[in-house]
Structure formats: C-alpha cells, structure tokens
Subunit: 353 residues, 2 copies
C-alpha cells in the first residue's frame, strides 16, 4: 500500500469527477443529508472506496462553523479526579456525537493559556475547564467566555455570567472529615497537604479550620503543613512525598498530633508511611483521614477512612451543562451546582485512647 503514501488525498470534486456528478451529490451521499438515487449513491460509494476518499474535516468545520468537538483542560491527568472526570465527560459527549480533546496544563498559567488557545484555535464547540484557578489563566478564560465560546468549569472558582460551574462540596467534606476525628475524641488534629496561607483558596482546609472552630479547638498553625519550597516540577496536587514529609514534620513537633486529615489519599498514604516508619501504629497511635476515595484507599494498611467525592457525576453534569450551552447559547441562566461528598469510614480512624 506504500503507493498510497504522499499522494494528495482525493477531494469531493475528485470523486464527483470520477462518477460524473456534481460535488454536491457526493456531499449528500457522504453526509447522508438530502436525497440521492440508489443508483448514483452506489456509484459514488464505489468511487469513494476506489479513491480512498475521506472528507476533510477542516473544510467541513470551516463551512459549518462547528466542529462537534469539545475541549477539556485538566491539570494533572495522574490525579484520579481528572481521570474519572475525563472519562465521564467523554462518555456523555460521545453519546451525543461529540468528540473530546483533552489538553493538559501541568501547573502554570502559561500552560493553561496555551491549552485554551490551542482549543480555541481549533474552533472547538465548547470547553470544560478543570484546572486550578490562577490570575492570568482566568483572565484569558474570561475573554474566551466573553467571545461567546461555551465554557463550564469543574471543581474550581470562576465567575462569569455565561459560565456554568460544577463542583463537590470540598468545604463540607473537609468539615466532616475533621468532625469525624473530633467525634472520636481527638483534639490535636493535623492537616497535611497545604499551608495555612492556602486557606483562602483551599476549601478542604477551610472545612478543617471551621470544624475545629466550631468545637472551640484553637488553630495551631504548626499543625498545618504542606509543600515546601517551589512548586515547580511537582504535580499540582499533593503527593505521597508531600504527605511523607509533612508527617515527619508533624511528628517532630514537641507535641505531635494524635490525628491527621490529609488533603487527599495520596498524601494520606505518604503520611501513613512516615508514621509507621516512626514506629506509630495506625489507628491506635495516629488516626488518618484522606480525601477522594481512590481505589487505593481500600488497600492501604489499614484501609483508609476518606471522603468520597462524586467524580463521575461531576463529569457527566459538566458535559450536560456544556451541551446545553452549545445548543441554546443565549438563553440559559448561569448555573452553579455543588454536590455532596460522603465520609467513608474504614479502619484508619479510631477513638482517641
């Protein structure tokens, strides 16, 4: 088949010329719109096969002013949240005849913008944005939304009159995780995965702080610990390594915590590893709660108490919101949905001795 290579692909007109009909007739056969006699249809299809014709999507999209394609911008695809989200978005879109192109923007505003531009340049019909907020990226996103491109954001702050949003109630999730530890009798509860300064943008941390406050437990900033140093070249979410180091730091305090709420399950795993290394038994000496309920959480030793967020549902809703915006661009009211999380109690937490 090598002879196929490099020959310029056949066009609609080539097919039309071969059959002896107008390009429009071929177009009708290919796209299935409009009437064509069975006889010509067959001749056309024959020529299509013979010439190895494939319709040029670019030209088609240019003419139709739509691409039947949606873009998804995510931060770390290694984050299980992103994975499930992407799959759910894809499935929902696919059922409606849309394709999904995913762009990853690891952790910089610059990459966010590059991804958005790439998508817009390809005239995709809409964008789902699931990266973390950042000033420049959000500015560009605002421009894009202003220009009439349908946009939906997932799991992040962003306000725009034409942009819908869907997220899990991370605040409440964080609150309940902490509440659970308090209920078990813990008073010194650490938070691993972010610094106290991050409380402005990190709902899970806010929930933690709020729960402590409600029970009149004073906030000890030394108990809140996250990544050290620059964030360059590390994933945007909190990792095993961060959990490990954070736990070590907490254990070196004069009065270490008896329980820890980790920002996510990875971080929790790292924290467990550090605790065991220090000779602590989980949950007897140290209780740990994670967040996300990744598949892993069931198989840690001991199985991890964690907060499950409905990732699949978020993806599905995001896709549905976007499709709605795509079909009636003007009319819809801005919609903002927040889904409940669920505390999954396993064996990594137990009453304070």
């Amino acid at each position: 088949m090598r002879h196929d290579i490099r020959r310029k692909p056949a066009t609609l007109s080539d097919v039309a010329a071969t059959v002896g009909v107008a390009p429009m007739t071929v177009s009708r056969v290919i796209s299935g719109n409009g009437y064509v006699s069975e006889e010509t249809r067959e001749k056309v299809l024959e020529a299509v096969k013979k010439l190895n014709y494939r319709r040029n999507g670019l030209a088609r999209s240019l003419k139709r002013q739509q691409t039947d394609t949606v873009g998804l911008v995510i931060g770390d695809i290694s984050n299980p949240f992103s994975t499930e989200l992407a799959n759910a978005v894809r499935k929902t879109l696919s059922a409606r005849g849309y394709n999904l192109f995913i762009c990853i923007s690891e952790h910089s505003a610059k990459e966010d913008i590059t991804a958005l531009e790439a998508l817009v340049d390809h005239n995709i019909d809409g964008i789902v944005v699931a990266t973390r907020s950042n000033k420049e990226g959000d500015e560009r996103l605002t421009e894009i939304a202003n220009s009439g491109v349908p946009v939906v954001v997932v799991g992040r702050d962003f306000r725009h009159e034409a942009v819908d949003s869907i997220s899990a109630d991370n605040f409440k999730g964080g609150f309940e995780a902490t509440q659970h530890l308090i209920d078990l009798g813990h008073k010194r509860i650490g938070f691993i995965g972010a610094a106290f300064e991050d409380r402005g943008r990190l709902k899970r941390l806010q929930g933690y702080i709020s729960a402590l406050g409600k029970h009149k437990i004073s906030i000890d900033e030394r108990l809140i610990t996250g990544r050290r140093g620059s964030s360059t070249d590390t994933p945007g979410y909190s990792t095993e390594a961060i959990g490990y180091e954070g736990m070590k730091r907490l254990l070196s305090l004069p009065k270490p915590p008896t329980a820890v709420f980790a920002r996510n399950d990875f971080t929790a795993v790292g924290a467990m590893s550090a605790a065991k290394e220090a000779g602590l038994a989980i949950p007897q000496d140290l209780a740990i709660v994670g967040f996300d309920d990744t598949p892993l959480a069931l198989h840690t030793t001991p199985p991890l108490t964690t907060v499950r967020q409905p990732m699949r549902v978020q993806g599905q809703i995001a896709a549905e919101m976007l499709l709605r915006r795509i079909s009636n661009k003007d009319e819809s009211e801005t919609e903002e949905r927040v889904l409940d999380c669920e505390l999954i109690i396993r064996e990594s937490t137990v009453a304070q001795r």
Copy 2:
C-alpha cells in the same frame, strides 16, 4: 463585556476594512511574515485590538495544510504510565511549537477507532498511539499510516513500514523480576494480572515464563491468575481489585506460592492487601514484586520491590520520532527502539526461608 457575546467574530477582512488596507496586509502583520511598514503595522494592530480580532485557525489550517497539532491516543489516563508519557510528549512537542490533543479510548476497539478518526478529521499533523493492540483498531491505524499521516506507537506491537515504535523491554523486565525471586530461593512463584492465555501478547508474562523455564521450574498454570469474567467496564490495565482477588485465589490453592510477581504496582498493592488479610507477613511469608515503580511503591508497607520503566524517556523519544516523520515524511527508515527497565529492590522481597 456581555455585548461581545454572540456577535460574529471579526475576520481579517473586517480588520482590513477598518484600517483601509488589503486583507493580505493584515495577514502579514498577524503572522509576522513579509514586510509591512511600521506605520500600517501599528494601525492594523490597533484595529485588531479594537475589533477583538482572533485569527481563525480552521481557515488557516485549511489553507496551510497543517495544524501544528499532534494527537495522542491513550488507553487509561489513570495509568501512571500514560500520565508520564503524555506529559513528556507534550513537553517535547511544545518546545517545537506543536500542541498536543489527547484522546482517551478506554478499552474497546470502537473507542480506539473513534479517537483516531476524530484526530484525523481535525487534520492533526501526526499521531502517537499508546493504546493496547487490537485487530480492528490496528487495521484502521494501518489505513491511516498508509494515507501518509505520520504515526508513532508506544509500548505496543504494530508493524508498518512508515511507523516508528518505542517501548520498554517488558520481557526483560518480567524476566529480571522473576529471576530476582528465583535468586532469593523461591520455587513456587505466582503471577497476578493476566491469564496464561495472555502470554501471546503480554511480554511481562513471557519474561516470567522464560525465567522459570531457564531455571527448570515447571510452569504451573494455576499460579498464573488474572482478571475474571468480562473486561467490560473495568480499566484496561490490571487494578488493585484484580491483585486482591488474584492473591486470594492463589492463597486458596493446596500449595500456595511463596512469592508473587504482579503485573504492575497497583496489582501488587491489592495482592499485598489480600496477603496481609490472610495473616501473611510480607516479605517473610510472601515476597512480592511489582512493575512500573509508581510513586506509590515507595510508600507501601513494606516498600515495594518493582521494575522501573523509563516512561518519560519513552514519551520524549516518541515525540522526537514523530517530529522527524513530520518534517521529512518520505525519507526516514522505520525505527524501532526498546529501552531497558531497571529492577528496584526494596523490602517486599527477601530470601526464601
């Protein structure tokens, strides 16, 4: 800015008309090709800003016959292999001015094909394919390669005279993992993550079988265990759940293994969990080796002995191969590269008692 919404975007001609020059002049300013006097350039840029002009990438691509975009088709983005791969591919491409669109095809030939079609329809300049092989998908891929689209495959079998390939030496990796267990004195060594019938396509399993063979240890098919039932709706790679169930099955044998080689780290984690549940100590009662060296492997209890494959390097090489094909489409010889894996010995393996 609401007034921006829905107004049809400005075109090159709109800008030209505003300034009072030819569209071509505006084009020159925008793309930076050709000479334009400083004076007109400024006037043009002013109008561009005023009209909020953005060049239409579709039209541009249609005319230029190139999109500066590459597609990546991967199976499960939750697989850490895919993640690192995608990031490496993206970085390498981005440095050369290319965008990356990722399509996921969870685990069916149909989705593979859909993804490939979507990419081809958008006239991307090349494709990196990292899904598992399957008959229909490969047929479509062959057609695509035949039609002159540059293609590179990663970590999978696929032969085509114009398609380069890059992968890790999974056979050797599997061999060395098993060899390591044999060296430690183990004779009954299980394999979790695939069935004996999969040996045709699964290099890691082949390595296992070959290592046993070399040491005259007979193959006991009951010691090789993988997913049960249909593969629908489960990830394409082997999971914690599969490891867990596989281990349980092995432990219920009349004569259970003293060591286990798991197809990947997730599977290993599940296996560890089942073993502990059965009251076995790792590594004293049961030695375990994983594969991939995910971040997790460092934080299991005990830390996991595993085989590291150079994921980042594979991505980088794949991108470079593709870029080369894109620039000199005809001339290049087919290239097939295989990279070595590295056995990382941690604490989940120890000499047979």
